[in-house]
Symmetry: D2
Subunit: 375 residues, 4 copies
């Protein structure tokens, strides 16, 4: 477990802040500095769009929204700087800006030279030879504001052109597992719980567990489940841009995520082919499956069944209990974190999972429009 | 579970057959037709390379290599068509060709109009309005020949320039779990078992289970574990091209894979932050961690610890037991598959997992070379 | 000359607002709306950078800078929103914002339904089914603010890491041709003339011609010459990303440009091979050429000689003399433009040509750092 | 004219062998070695395609086709290895292979250590520290086989889906200028002349000039004009992927090209805005222009008029007259080239210019299909 290469302050690198091929987003911004934002390139013209469409999703991810999230309080108000004219997109890049407000850089002074365990302080220094130590910089969850804003635009696009519905919820926190009927679960049920777990009983237990963790200066992880309904067959591009491959990348690019599986996922391992295969049966106009172990994707392309996948999130790295670590000079120090933070990121991660899913779907939906010979 | 859009024979689309940004590969070819291959663009010049380097890995993935793989027998001999001169790369694209040999298209005649369950027959038709029905076409595992060939070139590049070691093995088949010491496991132990599971006892049980499944016309899934040793700190590009995000995409792009997790992965969910965080302690010249729940990656960038991840594979979709399905005209039919196939893809998937890992690492290693101001 | 396809208001498309592969910029913004800007992704960390570095070049392209430019008066003040911390880049995206200030949308009311000749009004409508008619929208020269800001960052990068010098000047306006000694011409000479033509006599004639054109409600075109000194051998990536190919694309992407040639260019056509070939002769440590008809590039790669190329600009499309045209309903109308505009874009295009050249060079310089086996 | 950086044998780099965004081609191969080829990714499915479609264009570029081209004689027979099934494309990558046949590496032995003037020998060595000296390697015109093959596929795609016609011809060789009526010129007239100049009188003079140049061991340059008829309005993607910018890049990526201009091009410089602007007048269903100084493109987007542009080619660098140069050890040597070569590349460059134009148009045509909200 020894780093084989010490940090080299002079090493400098390319970044990967762009996601998507046709519905392409580029996020920018640190948790401290002028602000954070996103540029969306490739959104079709003539799509009705206003700031309220974006604000709705940003409000679902903003800090301070409930008693179980961080108390850092920022309105995170979005301003559309370009690409929209008279209430519609015009085919040009859509730039969205959210100013940083509640930044309290002084609160981070004690972290200037310390590497917080399981944070990105050390790795950013190792890679870039520098970092914005006033908060998490670019590795802060604040970076996801741009993603959620862009996801809201993707949502508008998909709503205008398809009838797909993307729904994500918290299905597990620590060892508390929810029971959710995929057939019936709906947005209002999810949003009515501050945990975003639609199983009220489980949700109440989760609130208690999170509250307890916060009291102990500790943190909890969990699982988010995501379901896409009314999916057209044909989305996904073999062989590398399989839909599940793009979803996996999207999810593992979220802060604190550690795993992804689709359909039967890791549990498929203990099934036999004869149990696992999804038999086809004649549908109204085309084949339908009698089971959905595939999670809606075969050969990397949607088959018209629902897409269903899970994302595992580790417990938040920021805890207030004292921890042993080292500083930039490679000396032992004891760290007591003072900042405001989430004891469990799951409730606020739900709109992030949705956003990334919407971005993948919008991109593949656009890619599917590319070219009909008999146009 | 009804496809909301019926296949449209006239819909035509873009493909995604390229992987990597600086060490970029493009695979091509169907299981039936002239052959399969890959073009590698971005491999540095002056790298010693010969066909034997490539053949070594191709031999590990080729069919017919043992009693538990498909008996389809193809030598899969690689020819380097360009990019190498006098035993070294010259900085130009490296084109590699493997001719198709043992294709028996007649063996597929009965599949021309039938959608095999959990195969890509229906989804390719839905997307492209056509497919090469003589075998799996592009969704055949045969497509991975190009990946494994390119992975061998990546292996040469990394060996020449770093001391990283990539090691993958079968850690579970069906419900048989191996016990493997990550510290000690080595290539020879893995390769000495036809299962590529280095726990001999478990391996023997796996052979029996696979043999039994084949006898019953059934198939089995499993888990492959992958370990990377002596990783330099600093690999991985925030925010979307996090190393774990690129690995997840790479793994979920493999045929039959259903899940990915890294480090503590899905089991992190039931840990608390105080248990999960990897404490830093002073190392010789830079910090090291006292545990590795992160799996070697923090904030999307390697921290110098070993990279450790798992990939779940579903049981092979091709089984010889009779199955209910439909044909292109949406009529019920009973399918009895006649082709030769693997009752369990795991042993042959090990070199595929290695290849994709090598490709991700080579790409990020190259990206890390990009630019030092004090050059 | 009949458009074979009428504008379809519902047709919507992907955009191409990104330039560069490793030093990658994405510009956004219309001439009217919140502002214009750029996101730079891939700039190495630890580069000293402050807003003044950017403002210097923006001031050279801003309107109202002299009596021969448009009198539209905007300070075009740049704000760095991210990617810089404590005076240095940190390897994260650099977002730069310039607010729109002197927008007078009412001045454009009479253009709402009219297609100005040789402008992009009709073509944007044909492509996107809509456009921001308050000014030129995205086709306005105002879009180049993002390019010039990014070019200034590229200039800082190249200055820190190479000793290349990029120098552009006006070499012709209408039929007035300057005489310039490439060996001696320097930045101060160029900047001391409001035309940015370093031949004072020609410059004076140009000022008269521009003044006369403005008086007549007319406009003039011209040629900009660009020279790069102290170029390292080895820049440029065969076969499609030849240095001259990337330069040609960069130049033809500038508003109003109509042609590009390099070295002997169009005049090479009437030379014979025996006259045109650049003979090699031994230099101090490597070959040098005794002539430079190649313009510094052979086989798409720099040979160490100076890069020299020309860009042709058409006369500005906006003129105040009355013109026959049609409106959106395909009816004849007579247009009398009322806006403020440049009678000749050349003086302000000089920093644009420089910026695009710097961006191409920075990109290729970074690409050249990618990977040494003997690292 | 001194290279500021001597060749560094250990410097290694990324390549740029891919062209296009949605209709994407990757060429590979050197003039000596296994062969040359191309992989086309993104071609729609269900396009009728056979090897004869490709061979037709390859035959127009092959050596030995007439008395004024090189006498190197290769059939250049194309084999389609993938992506086509039962006479139609299936949406997967189309790999095309042409084996090298008439390679006579011994003929190049004397060039092993010598840098031919105005060739890429020195620059490839400077960049890659090595090169395939048996012929021009990757900088050989032989590389364009892949482009012409891919262009033929693009031609099939455009023919199936639009009625555009791409026509290129030789309009000047050395100082002999052709007179061609753009309105009437047709394919048969062009192909009936071995010069591919449709003005018979000029063509005869060109044949004499080329024959004379060959006799003197010298070479000639020239101009190719390209015309696209029946262009739909709306092709081209602002701001960087303007149609003229992509065309300029395409043309400057061809071996020996030195310049590009569109519409009035370099001659626009001496026109006034009032002369240059293309007035709109009502057409049948949408505006048409009464002149075409724009060359069919305004704001980077086609306006429905014909596209018209020119490409300048320098005289071939390979001449047989003795030349002064240096060897790899930086010593003076006298070179007498012995290989077979073209005294003038123009006739064989016509299908290359067409191919690159077709590739740009196919790419932009596909990009234009991306997404209609009212799908």
């Amino acid at each position: 477990m020894r780093p084989s290469v010490a940090p080299k302050p002079s090493m400098i690198y390319v970044m990967g802040n762009t996601f998507g091929s046709l519905f392409k987003i580029s996020t920018w911004g640190e948790s401290h500095g002028g602000g954070v934002g996103v540029v969306i390139d490739g959104c079709p013209s003539l799509l009705p769009l206003e700031e309220a469409d974006i604000q709705r999703d940003l409000d679902r991810r903003r800090p301070g929204q409930s008693k179980i999230t961080t108390q850092r309080n920022e309105a995170d108000t979005a301003e559309i700087l370009s690409g929209v004219f008279e209430g519609k997109t015009i085919g040009t890049p859509i730039a969205i800006l959210v100013r940083n407000e509640d930044a309290m850089p002084a609160a981070y002074d004690h972290l200037k030279d310390v590497y917080r365990p399981s944070h990105a302080d050390f790795t950013y220094d190792a890679k870039y030879g520098t970092r914005n130590w006033q908060g998490g910089g670019r590795s802060s969850a604040r970076e996801t504001i741009g993603r959620v804003a862009a996801g809201a635009v993707a949502r508008s696009l998909l709503r205008e052109s398809t009838d797909m519905e993307v729904l994500a919820w918290v299905s597990q926190i620590h060892n508390i597992k929810a029971e959710v009927q995929n057939e019936n679960v709906n947005f209002d049920e999810i949003e009515s719980e501050i945990t975003r777990c639609p199983d009220r009983e489980a949700s109440d237990a989760m609130v208690s567990a999170i509250t307890e963790a916060r009291k102990n200066g500790d943190s909890l992880g969990g699982v988010i489940t995501c379901l896409v309904r009314r999916v057209p067959a044909g989305l996904g591009v073999p062989v590398f841009d399989r839909l599940e491959a793009d979803l996996a990348k999207a999810m593992l690019s979220l802060p604190a995520s550690k795993g992804f599986d689709i359909g039967s996922g890791f549990s498929s391992v203990e099934m036999k082919g004869s149990e696992h295969n999804d038999a086809f049966t004649p549908g109204d106009s085309s084949p339908v499956t009698t089971s959905n172990h595939s999670g809606g994707v075969q050969g990397g392309i949607t088959n018209g069944s629902e897409i269903l996948f899970r994302v595992a999130f580790k417990p938040t790295a920021t805890i207030s209990a004292p921890q042993e670590t080292v500083d930039k000079s490679n000396n032992s120090v004891t760290l007591e974190a003072k900042g405001r933070h989430d004891p469990c990121v799951l409730p606020r991660a739900v709109p992030m999972v949705e956003a990334m899913t919407l971005l993948v779907l919008a991109d593949h939906w656009l890619r599917n429009q590319t070219a009909r010979i008999n146009n």
